[in-house]
Amino acid sequence: MGNTMIKVNHLSKAFGDLEVLRDINMEVSEGEVVCIIGPSGSGKSTFLRCINQLETPTSGEVLYKGENICDSTADIRKFREEVGMVFQRFNLFPLKTVLGNVTMAPVLTKHRNKSEAKEIGMELLKKVGLENKAHVMPSTLSGGQQQRVAIARALAMEPAALLFDEPTSALDPELVGEVLNVMKDLAKEGMTMIVVTHEMAFARDVADRVIFMADGYVVEEGPAKQVMENPKEERTKTFLSRFLNQ
């Protein structure tokens, strides 16, 4: 495991009177895979969105390679180029082809020329198993295929890390596996990932570390095996047993 890449210090977030995140601390090293689990409404998505400033934290800081990106002087676009995000609902651009979705951002932000971007885009589509869908519109794809395109789109920025917000929750059960497999491959290649998920097997088998959140707090965190198989906290036990009994 490498150096610290993302460090979150005393992060809090409130929507009006509703305190959603309370004093969250977290550290992610280069090449690490961290899974965040927890009940619905516990603030997992909000936390992920605070990391790349889709939500502005109420207080606290997010350090990326030592630089506080919550600072008003920080270059948030540069950070976002380096730390990509995959959404629960894919959020593909509906009027662009699959390949167009993948090549758009690199052409605009990295000033890559179109043919080079296309070449790299095709490579990435091959990687997620969709090179034969390059020229179709996203709406003609299944949910699992769309999510794989979304992953390829994020990878096209050559990110140092990826944030995933429940990437398989909007999928029919039979399509979950194909997306998780792509994510497993990324983990093996050493991609740094923070993954909010309800896929407990994925958290146990792929993550290095698991964070259990509830009511805006980090209740428990530790090595994946330990948290998933021998949780210390009562709330973690209750949460996990509910999942096992499903």
């Binding site: 676009r77 009027l95 932000t109 920025m157």
Partner: protein, 224 residues
């Protein structure tokens, strides 16, 4: 009394001359109205309070006054006021005044369309753009505008048809469009019934053609 060949030979060329003026005003008016409406629609959904206030005032005035009064105002009052300020008599070309009226009118309607369309683009796509490091401007141009524009094309076409019909009111300010041409013909020949009947049929054919084109455009968009 009837509609005969001789009558058609006289009124026909007049109507086609009128058609040229009508279409010129409607087409230029809708294009300029689209530009004006886009700017105002952008202002209406944006954060700049002053721009929003101006856009709202404009839409309010356009919606709250009849188009005939607007035409009379632009044609007669505006040159008078400019004349008073500059101290010399000024005359506005009727066709130019007509284009201005249609532009202002279509612009007010289009601004509402544009505001709604910009607002209704899925927030998830904007966030996806932001998360890829795109600037606000790039998100606007590459993510918000394309689907927004696409969604208003049918309504834009509808406004174009309304604008074509609205040009008839410009006969009030002596614009030589289709209706004015017919009035001239009737005044010269006293052939009231055939004159206006041919005029009505002429409009009906023109607008039917436009409605058919509209249907084709809508089908084309829906099929994509």
């Amino acid at each position: 009394m009837g509609i005969d060949l001789e009558l058609l030979q006289t009124i026909g060329p007049m109507l086609f001359r009128g058609l040229k003026v009508t279409m010129e005003i409607a087409v230029i008016g809708i294009l300029l109205g689209f530009i004006l409406g886009s700017l105002c629609g952008y202002a209406l959904q944006g954060r700049n309070k002053i721009a929003k206030g101006i856009a709202n005032l404009y839409v309010w005035i356009m919606r709250g006054t009849p188009i005939v009064v607007q035409a009379l105002y632009v044609y007669f009052v505006v040159p008078e006021i400019i004349g008073l300020i500059k101290g010399e008599r000024m005359v506005l070309d009727p066709t130019l005044a007509g284009i201005l009226v249609i532009t202002l009118n279509a612009g007010a309607f289009i601004s509402q369309l544009v505001r709604g369309a910009l607002d209704s683009v899925d927030i998830g796509q904007k966030e996806a753009g932001a998360s890829l490091g795109l600037s606000k401007m790039q998100i606007m141009i590459h993510i918000i505008i394309p689907p927004a524009f696409r969604s208003i094309i049918p309504s834009l076409f509808n406004q174009f048809i309304i604008s074509v019909k609205d040009t008839a009111l410009l006969s009030m300010i002596s614009v030589n469009e289709i209706t004015r041409q017919t009035q001239n013909f009737v005044m010269r020949t006293y052939k009231t019934i055939p004159g206006y009947t041919v005029c009505a049929i002429f409009y009906l054919v023109l607008l039917s053609v436009l409605m058919i084109v509209q249907k084709l455009v809508e089908k084309k968009i829906a099929s994509k």
